[in-house]
């Protein structure tokens, strides 16, 4: 099992969409205008969304890859 990095978005998200347009892997979507959700299959944990998020509410967390 190896550790991988993924973006995790807190529920303070305002659904502004900044992270969606910045993500090079199209890994984020805005769910029904309510909040951003990360597709963990596509996210590589690069952190671009974290630095762009105007509310600084995205964290890059290490997780164990389950295979």
């Amino acid at each position: 099992m190896k550790n991988i990095k993924k973006a995790v978005i807190s529920n303070q998200c305002v659904a502004c969409g900044t992270c969606v347009s910045i993500c090079p892997f199209n890994a984020i979507n805005i769910f029904k205008g309510i909040r951003a959700v990360v597709d963990v299959e596509l996210c590589v944990g690069c952190g671009k969304c974290k630095s762009a998020c105007p509310g600084s509410i995205i964290e890059i967390q290490e997780m164990e890859e389950s295979q």
Binding site: G17, K32, I34, P54, I57
Partner: protein, 201 residues
């Protein structure tokens, strides 16, 4: 790839400049008020914020491309629900106040005030942008509405410089309102789904 809607910041910038030329152009700003609401009410979510808001693009451009933003984290209180919905409420009260001032001019109680009120406090003489002879209430609304637009732009720019390029989006009343509508719609949908599943079981 850049699409047409990536250039809507030009519309926002032009709008702000036109207010210095002729105040009646301020009426055009209603587009940025009504469109986001209609989109979220009719199921388009926050597509306006996500794809079509020129103001958000303008802040991103100024903050990121022109490097005017310090790129610091926004203070925690600004992202709390209390602050966001509190600011929306304050904003709406001031908006109603502006509509009432327009009504008083329409009714003839007050004369036309050719001023722009910045940050709801500072009155700036602006008579040079008014060369019209149409009904005074139409012009009064334009002064009032432009005051709202300019005030929110100034707040947005201050927030952009101090924090991240689009940090204004965290407490922008339009953004809070459209997200609120989407949340309400989801709650109502959940409730009606719940009722349906109860009756069918």
């Amino acid at each position: 790839m850049k699409r047409w809607n990536n250039y809507l910041w030009i519309f926002s910038l032009t709008y702000l400049l036109l207010g210095f030329v002729n105040i009646l152009f301020a009426w055009l700003g209603l587009i940025c008020f009504i469109t986001p609401l209609l989109i979220s009410v009719f199921g388009g979510g926050k597509a306006y914020c996500n794809n079509y808001c020129g103001r958000g693009q303008l802040f991103q451009l100024l903050g990121k491309k022109l490097r005017l933003s310090r790129n610091r984290d926004i203070p925690n209180f600004l992202r709390t629900k209390w602050f966001r919905y509190g600011f929306l409420t304050f904003f709406m009260i001031m908006f109603m106040n502006m509509l009432f001032a327009t009504y008083l001019v329409f009714e003839g109680t007050n004369g036309l005030q050719e001023v722009i009120t910045l940050l709801w406090t500072f009155k700036v003489p602006w008579q040079w942008a008014n060369s019209t002879t149409i009904s005074p209430w139409i012009t009064q609304f334009a002064f009032g509405f432009y005051s709202v637009m300019l005030t929110s732009t100034i707040l947005g720019i201050i927030t952009m410089v101090l924090f991240k390029p689009r940090s204004w989006c965290i407490y922008c009343p339009m953004g809070t309102m459209t997200q609120g509508i989407c949340k309400l719609k989801e709650i109502r949908k959940d409730e009606s789904d719940g009722r349906e599943s109860k009756t069918s079981s």
